[in-house]
Symmetry: C2
């Protein structure tokens, strides 16, 4: 039995023009919606992640406490649970799955929140990485609904360098002849493993590797053990077309492309009325703090708060055994939720 | 007609055990050796580079002035000019080419310098990237010969993170079925292009991409134009086995593995008596300044000098049209060469 619910979206007209017919949004909720519907939080997933991968930041006594808040975790389109290349019926299946934008993702989530639950205001939208990108998008697409956002290790617009990093990931995956331009019958395992190794250098900082924290903090027995046991294990079970769908979504992330903003990211940032704490990680290699600094200068009600330390992008992944980064994020979430807005 | 000379090495016993028979060292010299043989400089090549790719730092009025110095640029084993998978006779050809260490490279260069030229002292060993690694190795292998070293954007030991970055590069290249485990008859172009795209994110800094300097400083017409016109163009003409040979050399670079040092990199660093200026680039993503800082604390006669700016690793590549980085490197070389040692 699935541990999540499904919202039938029907036919979804996507921003790039295709119509995703009979689309589904997989989601899970934590806690109970107050009678006045005033305690809802949306917490979208990240690249390749499922709702369960968000659960480390939800719990009793934490900011995202199900005893207090009604927390909705919607799965991104393309992640294998919501409508994706791997589960869509023909003709929009597999390699033919249409291009989905961050804007599209938020529109489907908005329908879930409003149509299924009748929620009119969100206390918070937060998320890691691409989940952070969706947080900005919520604040731009539905400013009247969103009180606060806390994107961590994400950005409002995917930077040129981040696009290039993803080009490397994509090229490694698709270099495998077994990928067959997306029409594989068996997984392109060589490409998936290659992709994992490309990703490995980006996910954690140089200092994390220098200090061999994959051994001391994560318990892997060697560098190679970490590459296989963590990285290959992360991507090998995923569907290649799903990964490429989400990768396209990521590469093309830009709140400036929200209808009405004409590609002007600065104007979209200035339109964010939600109270925001924008939280990069100090040594994140593909969402460097500088990019968020630039964003915050354009956001009328935002503050930058850098997660210190050497974990790099995965500071936001909830992997640190000693919980230093988790506590930092959780305490900042508590602070933001306590602010009257 | 070739624009370089060849030194016949005969049979070379490599550090890892194989014997490279009838080996050749391709090199080029610039300037004239003084009668007292006191004006020699060694300037080794970098990953995939040939001697011509070093010439931007050699010239009249520059530190490496052929009117004053006798500059020897030896091509690394595996680079396609010196003995390499692409030109070695069977049975050690192509995918069967033996593993070559940085130590091996320096030993062959030492033979060139002493046997062909009768040189006993080197005024300087300098180089970019893997050329920097060879500079440290010279100072450890032959401390009595080397007065000064100036490694730029390199390291004495390849860091774990750098190893992982190269794992990504290697995985992308070898994911291409056309690679055929190294026994290709036609180049694995898809893998070479994938490797180039992986490399692209590492070679220049996030800020370089953010500022779109591939357009403003380098004249490419778009991000994609830069990926194809610069990066794919850089690796597509190279032989895949050659690239993998040099990659293995790089991944296994460690002056601590010099015979007599028993893997102790710190002890090898402390044994460097040459006057050294160690010069990382501020935003180098795979040779970050921190790694060189650690080295300099162990080196008895060394100073750290960081190349400022956003070019990242390619600050040492001589590509900046306005010559800012080139001037910085050149002036530091002049300063070091002017020091009595």
């Amino acid at each position: 039995m699935a541990d999540y619910d499904v919202f039938d979206l029907g036919d979804v007209r996507l921003q790039m023009g295709a119509t995703l017919r009979d689309a589904k949004l997989a989601y899970k909720t934590y806690g109970t919606l107050d009678p006045d519907k005033g305690n809802a939080i949306v917490y979208p997933t990240w690249y390749s992640g499922h709702h369960v991968d968000n659960e480390w930041l939800i719990g009793e006594g934490m900011a995202l406490d199900p005893a207090r808040y009604f927390i909705i975790v919607p799965n991104m389109l393309g992640n294998g649970l919501s409508t994706s290349p791997s589960n869509a019926p023909p003709p929009y299946d597999r390699a033919r799955f249409p291009r989905v934008t961050v804007y599209d993702n938020v529109e489907t989530q908005h329908r879930l929140v409003t149509e299924r639950f009748g929620i009119e205001r969100l206390e918070l939208v937060t998320g890691w990485s691409m989940g952070g990108g969706q947080s900005y998008q919520w604040a731009v697409s539905h400013p009247e609904m969103v009180r606060r956002i806390l994107p961590f290790c994400g950005s409002a617009r995917t930077s040129p360098h981040n696009i290039v990093f993803l080009e490397g990931v994509k090229s490694a995956l698709t270099a495998d002849a077994a990928f067959q331009e997306g029409w594989y019958e068996r997984p392109p395992n060589k490409g998936l493993r290659a992709m994992a190794r490309v990703y490995a250098g980006w996910g954690f900082s140089q200092a994390f590797y220098w200090q061999r924290m994959f051994e001391s903090e994560m318990g892997y027995s060697s560098l190679e053990d970490f590459l296989v046991g963590f990285w290959e294990d992360l991507f090998l079970p995923r569907d290649a077309n799903n990964l490429l769908t989400m990768l396209w979504t990521w590469q093309n992330g830009d709140i400036g492309r929200t209808p009405g903003f004409d590609g002007d990211t600065g104007r979209a940032l200035r339109a964010i009325t939600a109270r925001a704490i924008v939280m990069p990680a100090e040594k994140d290699l593909y969402f460097p703090p500088e990019d968020n600094e630039w964003e915050v200068t354009h956001m009328p009600n935002a503050e930058l708060r850098v997660i210190p330390g050497v974990w790099g992008h995965f500071a936001g992944g909830g992997l640190d055994d000693d919980q230093t980064d988790t506590r930092f994020i959780d305490e900042t979430l508590k602070e933001l939720l306590a602010q009257d807005v």
